[in-house]
């Protein structure tokens, strides 16, 4: 190449030929001397004051690749989310042999794991290996150079397989060099969930160093870690548009990579009914977009088990009494009302309209069947009953409902309709309990008229109901909920609605919650701060603090389907993940380099995450504008 260059320039610049010749020779010599002729390596990265700086490779200098530099440079390495306990990082990388990695799981007594947990653990170990595999760009890179890696994982609880609000997700992680040929890693956890996270952290301390051409791991590591909030969730709406099981599993992969633990599944809506009910198969026959776009019991079981092995709970939502419509056409007259009514804006917030008729007994009979089917497939420790955006005009438009209310001596005021709704909620809840084998179960409801000040004390019991907030984070009603002793989940739309910022699909202009929410805002959305700003004391030790379960990013899918699913969730959902796992005092600025590294990690694992900046900024840390 240098020769070609010489020829071309000698032709062009004969006058300065001698000077240029000398300089080019010098350049040539320097390339030969460093022995990097083959790789044509011009750049190296050096860690300076916590950031990786791109520099021209000097003579006799051993190059360091960008990924390797990132791994040792930041005080939290490229860990995402950053650990909350002890973080001692050796900041020295050791080459390891991909083909000599052993992972064993043992019980607290040093015995083999029980079958219960052992099966989950073996999937988690496979996942760990698969994650390392994605680090290689080519098969040939998996050479046998480097030390062997022994990973020993201790799980004390040998029976727990299901994640609940009481689960222990903490873990401890140690990495040390045992001798010249071995690196040892120990992970200790109370339950499977912590062990799984420990393995995730371990894979985040590993990278392929393209300068050394080897897989490397950090040595001399001591980490203790546990989450700040127990409920760290995403909600996906599979009714406005359908999402394949494969795309749901990919979403769960992203969650596991970011230590999110709850996949809230908004199964149905007025637009479609993809959930295949064994009791009432007509629901999806009528309500699915196509006969293929359904979730069979097998599909759901496979998602639930997939999630379980990744420490993720699948929380089903069956939204009612509003947000129903398609799928109920067969059930007979007056089971649903104002379905697909036009002009839609008279009867609902978005087309197609539709609500259940609370005065019709068939409704509860069918609901009972649906709940029964749901409880047979999911094993979440809570259930989501939706309960948002009930439109009284829809009910008012039904002669059947109006007559029934009159016969009960009820009027036609909003308060009367609130009572009607309350009656529905109580009757439906009875069916839920019935489906749950007669046991009470915590219920999540979206904020609504029913949860408003004045109504909530009258209608909802804080022992049973958990309220999911979807107003802005500044809404005074949030303070009221906590003050009344309700457990809350934050999905304040001004920070956690990931569908915002795109075109309005039923009107001119952009959608109602525009603009698009950048990752900085998501990262800074701290539930405790929101409550403090509303005058609620949530300092450690207060009862109010215990009521804040966590937060959940929402993807309503009017304008998203499988084509752009990943880009909407990722990497923004990861920004929320660190807020909920680590809840750092510092702002997003200290997290920026790690966030960019985590985005690349998600891409590497096959998640089509949105780009956050030009690649130049990734290669030149600290040189780009802050847009927060």
């Amino acid at each position: 190449m240098i020769v070609a260059l010489l020829i071309c320039y000698t032709k062009e610049f004969l006058p300065d030929f001698i000077i240029r010749m000398t300089l080019l020779l010098l350049l040539m010599v320097s390339f030969i001397a460093t022995g990097n002729w083959a790789q044509e390596r011009v750049w190296t990265w050096q860690c300076q004051e916590g950031r990786c700086v791109k520099q021209l490779l000097q003579r006799n200098e051993t190059p360091q690749g960008l990924e390797a530099c990132k791994l040792v440079c930041d005080i939290y390495s490229t860990l995402w989310p950053r650990p909350t306990g002890k973080v001692e990082l050796g900041r020295v990388l050791v080459p390891i042999n991909y083909n000599a990695i052993t992972i064993i799981g043992i019980s607290g007594e040093g015995r083999a794991l029980s079958e219960n947990v052992g099966q989950l653990f073996s999937t988690a170990a496979d996942n760990f290996r698969n994650r390392l595999t994605t680090m290689f760009k080519k098969q040939e890179q998996r050479t046998s150079g480097g030390k062997s890696l022994q990973v020993q994982v201790t799980i004390h609880d040998s029976s727990t397989r299901t994640l609940t609000m009481e689960s222990d997700e903490s873990y401890e992680l140690y990495i040390s060099e045992a001798d010249y040929s071995q690196v040892h890693c120990n992970i200790v956890s109370a339950q499977f969930f912590g062990a799984n996270y420990g393995l995730e952290t371990l894979s985040q301390l590993t990278t392929f160093d393209d300068a050394a051409d080897n897989l490397v791991i950090m040595r001399d590591v001591n980490i203790t870690d546990s989450p700040a909030f127990p409920f760290r969730a995403l909600v996906l709406d599979t009714a406005r548009n359908y999402f394949s099981v494969a795309s749901i599993k990919r979403t769960i992969d992203g969650m596991a990579a970011s230590k999110l633990n709850t996949f809230h599944w908004h199964l149905t809506d007025s637009h479609s009914f993809p959930f295949q009910s064994s009791t009432y198969p007509q629901l999806s026959q009528y309500g699915a977009y196509t006969p293929q776009q359904i979730y069979t019991p097998q599909d759901i079981t496979s998602v639930v088990e997939y999630a379980r092995a990744r420490g993720v709970r699948v929380l089903p939502e069956f939204d009612a009494p509003a947000h129903v419509g398609e799928g109920w056409q067969w059930a007979g007259p007056n089971v649903t009302v104002c379905v697909n009514a036009q002009p839609w804006n008279k009867y609902c917030v978005e087309p197609p309209c539709g609500q259940l008729n609370p005065t019709n007994d068939t409704v509860y009979e069918i609901l009972g069947g649906i709940y029964h089917d749901i409880f047979a497939l999911f094993d979440s420790d809570m259930f989501h009953m939706g309960g948002d955006e009930v439109n009284f005009e829809c009910w008012r438009s039904s002669l059947d409902i109006v007559n029934w209310m009159t016969s009960q001596g009820m009027g036609q005021t909003n308060d009367d309709y609130l009572q009607l709704w309350d009656m529905f909620q109580k009757k439906a809840y009875m069916k839920v309990v019935e489906a749950n084998g007669g046991n009470e179960i915590p219920i999540v409801l979206w904020t609504s008229h029913l949860t408003a000040e004045g109504a909530i004390d009258k209608y909802l019991d804080n022992e049973i109901y958990i309220i999911q907030i979807w107003t802005t984070g500044r809404d005074a009603a949030i303070a009221n909920l906590v003050n009344k002793g309700f457990r809350v989940i934050f999905s304040n739309y001004d920070a956690l609605y990931f569908d915002c910022g795109f075109g309005a699909w039923v009107a001119e202009g952009n959608n109602w919650c525009s603009p698009y929410i950048g990752w900085h805002k998501v990262y800074m959305n701290n539930p405790y701060t929101l409550l403090t700003n509303l005058g609620v004391d949530v300092s450690p030790g207060t009862a109010a603090r215990e009521l804040v379960l966590g937060a959940e990013a929402a993807l309503w899918t009017e304008q998203v389907d499988e084509s752009s699913l990943d880009g909407r969730f990722w990497p923004r959902a990861a920004a929320m993940a660190e807020r909920l796992w680590s809840n750092p005092d510092e702002g997003w600025q200290q997290a920026e380099y790690r966030m960019l590294a985590h985005r690349e990690r998600l891409v590497q694992r096959g998640i089509q995450s949105e780009a956050l900046e030009p690649q130049w900024c990734y290669q030149n840390e600290g040189s780009c504008p802050s847009q927060g």
């Binding site: 062009e12 406005r240 548009n241 196509t290 697909n340 087309p351 084509s563 030009p614």
Partner: protein, 613 residues
Amino acid sequence: MKVAYLLQVLSAAACLCAAEDSGPGWQWSWACKSGRCVKSEYPISYASSRGISNITRKSQSACRLTCGQYGALWPHPTGPTTIGEQVVAFHPSIIRFDLLEVVDSGRGTREYLAACTQLFLDNLLVECGANCSVVSDTDVYVRLVTRSQDLTLNWNTDETYTLDIVTSSRVNSVTVNIRAETVYGARHGLETLSQLVARVPAPLGGGGRGHSSPRKHLLIMATNVRLSDAPIFRHRGLMLDTARNFLPLYAMKRTLDAMAASKLNVLHWHATDSQSFPLESPRVPQLARRRFGAYSSRQVYTPQDVAYLLEYARLRGVRIIMELDAPSHAGNGWQWGEAAGLGQLAVCVNQQPWRKYCIQPPCGQLNPTNPNLYRVLRDLYRDILDIFPRGEPLHMGGDEVYFPCWNSSAEIVNWMEARGQGRGQADFLQLWADYQSTALGTLDEEVGHSNTPIILWSSHLTEPGVIESFLNKDRYIIQTWVPASSSLPVELLAKGYRVIYSTKDTWYLDHGFWGSTVYHNWRVVYDNRIPRKAGVLGGEACMWSELVDNQSLDAKVWPRTAAMAERLWADPETRSSSAEARFYRHRQRLVTRGIRADAVSPAYCYQNEGECQ
């Protein structure tokens, strides 16, 4: 005879179109009512639908195919268009192409169209999807007629064509005639023909039923079609920026596929910027290959890549216009000048604090006072000329020159002082203009004439008050990137300049994700009208890639750019709301062809036309 045949077509349509993909025995059907496909109130089971010969019962894609004046066509034709209600079943394997009337005395027109027919067949097979296994005995005979042997694709290329589909008197035979002046018109005709085709489930009882075996499918084609078509604007473009983030070749190919499907004809390739220089220049290898400018050794475009892409685009009726942005938006890739004894080729490269020297980091501007710069540019131009077709315009960028950068360079300041120039706005403007004319002169010397059209972004240099003293209107075409409300394009037109519109507040696809910019949804994109005036070449949507790489490219670009495509091809008097059903169908088409286009509505709205307004 003819009557008998039509009856057969009718009954075939009835039984073939009655069901969308069906597994467990239920199906919805659609009927065309005053231009809208209306979903049936209830699904029916296969069993009860057997033997029903009601022509109005159709699968959704079959209904859309012939419903309304333009059926499922995108962009819609601009001449008289009729699409008959009858359809005929066929299989892609029994299409015959007749190229005998493609005038070719060895220049390659027939070869070109033969390649197009292959792409056309590929599209049909993709449309038919898995289990496209029902073989129909209908003969489809596609006759292509072109007169010109000119293979040049430029602003003067005649892209018109006519298409008609007739059922011949012979039973089970359909003839498609596509007539065009040029092969590029004929290519558009084939694209239109591919949109007159839909996938439907096979008839029942033919072995396609049952829970275990998936339903078989076949294709249907609209018959009794007669249309003529020609674009309103001749420059229908998309700009891709491969410098802020690198786009792999396959991402650009995918984009070209979608452009072809939407009859766009220019890919404007913003190849380089201050962030990176991925374009490999054999004569100046330091720029990219030596990794001064490329992000990594893998993230480069070799001359072979570029040549390959040019041909890939040409077969899809798209030409590529290369942009080498200068003198601003140049930095990384240009740092090696001093070490090579050429002096500073660029100044303030990667300078911090960046806000003092440029609009966005990293900073960098070429050093117009260094004569060696023009020698390097000459080599770069030669490399471009080696690959690109003769006469193809060059986009020379020319946007966002930031004078404080030049003003911070002692070399430049001294040079200007030595010539008795001051350091005011006007002096730097003159310096820029001098750069532009020297660079252009260098290019002209290499080309051997001064006729290469040059495109520049609107800038200080193109202000109506000064442009005439700097830029020759016969030479320069101005790509304006101002809001719709700006009078700049009209003023430039009045002065005799040709203009390409990249209306910033509708056709900038990166908006809505940074600063105070707003996302431009497909309706806004569609509803942006540009004047039909002499001098208006057309428009371009721009995908600046600070916040996009291969991962989300498709969703940012599509289907919005297709909305612009209909605006530029057909420039309808009507607004986006009238185009909704066809647009949703086209979005679906793009997804089927492997482009991850963003969703624009719930599937409910696609299935229930007109219910979401």
